[in-house]
Symmetry: C2
Subunit: 139 residues, 2 copies
């Protein structure tokens, strides 16, 4: 199995952080051929979307796509955004958030499901035979 | 309400990412007066802990503390690690992960609860009146 991207996990995490702090999470999306958004709201090849629970219906941040319904000028639109096309998530109220590399996206597949954390337990041991790498400091 | 740290959200996210990919998540902890770990396993003021589901019992990554039971040399120990004291989480198999700033921790409080994402819906509008900031690029 190919390693999956950490990006959808981090997007879900920061969306939850925004929500818990009463902030309004927004994403910045670089438009590509798999992005389904209202064309009139694209600026310079990008769109900024409010992905707060109060602004969306049926929001699902899956491992490959973010999908939801939202109203633009009174019209309900179905939005599909590849995770690969998201360049940032941030709290509108403070600007705090995280930026991401935009990479080539794959077409939408119905089978895209959000990951569920599994839970089990057993015994442990200390291990220090590996060193952290590819690390970025987050405050 | 004071803004909460994104750190526990990111730790939960990367723990889930490790688990979903079959990796074994480890955390690096800088020991402080609120850290409860087996003293014999501390090296240079730090301890590296396997926090995989197979190595822990009752693992809970709360907003202020990570707590679980684990076995060290055949003895089950209760572990309490302040989120503030965690300097990294990474997959043992690849070293991929994320580093964090270590800050001063607060004593353990029973009321520390993991955050739950709430869910609701309504209408939306596009907003681009705020710019992302404090961003770090994550691949």
């Amino acid at each position: 199995m190919q390693e999956s991207s950490t990006k959808p996990y981090l997007l879900r995490a920061l969306h939850e952080w925004c929500t818990d702090n009463g902030y309004t999470p927004h994403i910045v999306v670089t438009i590509d051929e798999n992005t389904v958004v209202p064309r009139a709201h694209i600026q310079d090849g990008q769109i900024t979307l409010n992905v707060g629970h109060l602004a969306t219906n049926g929001l699902r941040i899956g491992n490959d796509y973010i999908e939801f319904q939202a109203r633009f000028g009174g019209i309900t639109e179905d939005i599909f955004v590849p995770i690969a096309a998201v360049s940032a998530i941030y709290a509108r109220e403070t600007g705090a958030g995280m930026g991401f590399e935009v990479v080539e996206s794959a077409p939408y597949a119905e089978s895209d499901q959000p990951a569920q954390a599994s839970s089990s337990s057993s015994e442990t041991k200390k291990s220090d035979d590996a060193k952290p790498s590819h690390l970025s400091i987050v405050k």
